[in-house]
Amino acid sequence: MDDQLINIFNSIIFNATPLVIAGLGETITERAGVVNLSLDGSILLSAMFGFVAAGVSGSLLVGFIAAMIVGGLIALLIAVAGIELRQDQVAIGFVLTLLCADLAQFLGQDYTGGSSVSLPEVHVPILSDIPVIGAIFFDHPVIVYISYMLIIAIWFWMFHTRPGLAHRAVGERPQAAFARGTDVNRLRYVYTIVGGALVGLAGAAYTLSVKPGWTNPPSMRGDGWIALAIVIFGGWHPFRVVFGAYLFAALRAVASTIQRDSSIDIPLVLLNGLPWLLMIFTLLLVSTGALERLLNIMPRALQRSARNLLRSDPPAALGTRFDPD
């Protein structure tokens, strides 16, 4: 494989990382039955806070932690409004989307500019020496490795642990979870906040690593909506969500390569619109049942293992309330 191609793949993995983390965070939240629609705002606000906190303290770690706290707090607000105050989660999420975006712009007005600090690249010993694979996957800032670990950890948690069963049950059939002694609403709080904290982490991943610095308007605006769509495309399964995020980043990379290559004459508007057309297209794959049909034409033996991976139904209790009595 030539170096140029390896570089492209390397940058796809790198650029997709915030989407991967945000998508995983939202997957955790929605699997517990709560919709955090505020992603496009909460990513911005946590990105701004993370950037400023890192700049002020001089510590990247402080920046990342600050961003996670901001993301977690926004999620907490959604949980309180949705669970305690029984408000429509979509409505609250939408208000917070706008509010957080404006807040980020207002509070960050004096901090625009490039980054003085950004995550250094780390070569993982041994792994980075594997030909091709090493150069693509193991030649990145540490946030990328954190995303790898999150993928594995979340998948294992959901499908291979006992608490993971409770996690999924709470979003699928809260009455059944309650009957088994699970505290439905408490778990929903926990997973909403954890998911929100990951969304916050994704925000900091932009401003402290992938797109270092803070601009007005922010460069990652709109990515929150894409992350939300990727969760649907991903069928609420961590692996498929991550696959969706990488696919997205890959198509973006193709678009920008074409854009740079002046010999191909495609209107700029089409290229810039590509992520959005792509979002519609990915949702179409789900809504028209194309993925389900794919499952049906697979050999029977494969169907069983692919079932979890290809199902497209949202968690059955998504966005609903649960009252024990």
Binding site: T161, R162, R168, A176, A179, R180, G181
Partner: protein, 486 residues
């Protein structure tokens, strides 16, 4: 395990669901709790199983008073309940569903769970594949899975809420055998909640009858059906003879219908109905009868075949065209499909009676008043529909249905209604039938099917066969057909 319920009171708003109920349950006994819908059976069982708390009264287990704040606490004391709609998680596999809630380490061992599951299922002859998703199981299998799970939790008292609704004769036999074995060899006590006499007669050692929230009788079994009916209603029921009326001309012709759906597909279904004919569609949950009904009403597009209503070819037409051709459809879930929560009674009437662009609210109010009167609906015209009781909702729905439909397609027309309300509904339906309306309906209640149908079509896994009711079909033989033994 011996359980005593003492002076249980429970009210919901103005409704007294349970009033001073006392009941005792002994080791190894199977007790039937009999009563009409709304008699307070389910509330009582939910109190015993920890899903609800009584306002006053005591639960005494083996001589010690206990308070159950949650189902888990009840299970810790050995009391477990099988809900009518089993409390499982559809996207889980049978093994996952089984192991969720059992004690164990943090990581899952699917193999150990499957082994434990198989050990219990083998004893009762239950057929449960641990790797199948729960959503692919039939109601009967889901019940089996739930019983197995409760046994693994160490339950010593098992409560079953209407377990025989929607399961086949074979599954019923299997279930009853398992319960008998548990009672006799394990000393388990069983409470069977039902409104079906035949279940109680087949299974129970004693019976307690509830009516309007109170215990109105208790007796040792065996006992005849007539005596039980007398306990339940205070007097014997006269079974209404089914009077065939002269049928009119052919009004519905369904030929070679093919319907493709996710779970079950219907192949080559044909049905011709004449004016005034009542046809029942029997079958277990998801055997295809709902698909057929909805296809005949124009709500599902069949993949092949033709439908004609009143001589008009309706193939490929929209539901609104079907309405215009004289179809009236009634769905099983009244508030989900049929009535609109958030709209008032008057708005419902206005919605179905307005044909111009503008609404005449005065006229609609007047029409509402007369309709409520005529259909015996007790409710405030300006209050939203969800404030009505189930029976009143069903009567209002009847009022909203067009008066002179060619074909009424009804999904479980008496679901969740008490005996009186159900009878009222059928009186109305038979009156419309006398005017020439053909009626096609589904029901999980074999009694209802046999009582009211001229013919019954039995569906199983998308296949179907037809039986006339005048040939002296018995509930038992119908039960076997429903289980797929054509």
């Amino acid at each position: 395990m011996n359980i005593d319920l003492r002076h249980i009171h429970k009210r919901f708003g103005a409704v007294k669901a349970n009033e001073d109920i006392s009941l005792s349950l002994k080791n190894g006994r199977i007790v039937g709790v009999l009563g009409e819908n709304g008699a307070g059976k389910s509330t009582l069982m939910k109190i015993l199983a920890g899903y609800q708390q009584p306002d006053t009264g005591q639960i005494v287990v083996d001589g010690h008073e206990v308070v159950f704040h949650s189902p888990l606490e009840a299970i810790a004391h050995g009391v477990g309940m099988l809900q009518q709609d089993p409390l499982d998680v559809g996207s889980f596999t049978v093994a996952e569903n089984f192991t969720y809630g059992l004690p164990g380490g943090v990581t899952l061992s699917r193999r150990a769970a499957a082994a434990q599951l198989r050990q219990i299922t083998a004893r009762f002859g239950f057929d449960l594949d641990p790797n199948l998703p729960v959503s692919d199981l039939s109601i009967g299998q889901r019940q089996q899975a739930e019983i197995v799970r409760l046994l693994a939790l160490g339950v010593k008292t098992l409560i079953l809420d209407e377990p025989t609704t929607g399961i086949s004769a074979e599954q019923k036999t299997l279930l009853f055998d398992a319960l008998k074995s548990l009672a006799q060899t394990d000393g388990m006590s069983v409470l069977l909640v039902s409104h079906k006499l035949e279940d109680v007669i087949a299974l129970c050692d004693e019976v307690v009858v509830l009516r309007a929230g109170r215990v109105v009788g208790a007796a040792e079994m065996p006992m005849s059906a007539e005596a039980l009916v007398e306990l339940m209603f205070g007097q014997g029921l006269t079974t209404r003879a089914h009077e065939p009326i002269p049928l009119g001309s052919s009004v519905v012709a369904v030929d070679n219908l093919h319907i493709r759906a996710k779970r079950v597909s219907v192949r080559d279904f044909s049905l011709h109905m004449r004016a005034g004919e009542v046809v029942g569609l029997a079958g277990l949950d998801g055997s295809g009868q709902e698909l057929i009904l909805r296809a005949c009403a124009g709500l599902i597009k069949p993949s092949g075949g033709s439908v004609s209503i009143g001589g008009r070819d309706m193939t490929g037409k929209s539901y609104r065209d079907y309405i215009a051709a004289g179809i009236a459809f009634g769905a099983a879930g009244r508030t989900e499909e049929g009535l609109i929560a958030g709209l008032t009674l008057t708005e419902h009437i206005a919605l179905t009676s307005t044909h111009g662009a503008l609404i005449d609210w005065g006229g609609a109010a007047a029409l509402t008043a007369t309709q409520l009167e005529q259909y015996n609906v007790r409710g405030v015209p300006t209050s939203p529909i969800e404030n009505l009781s189930g029976g009143n909702q069903q009567r209002l729905l009847m009022a909203l249905m067009p008066q002179n439909a060619v074909l009424m397609a009804l999904e479980q027309p008496t679901r969740g209604l008490d005996v009186d309300s159900a009878r009222w509904i059928w009186t109305q339906l038979l009156a419309r039938r006398a005017q020439g309306t053909a009626i096609l309906f589904t029901s999980p209640d074999l009694d209802e099917l046999v009582t009211y149908s001229d013919r019954i079509v039995v569906c199983f896994a998308g296949r179907h066969c037809e039986v006339p009711t005048w040939g002296g079909i018995t509930l038992d033989s119908l039960g076997h057909l429903i289980g797929g033994q054509f």
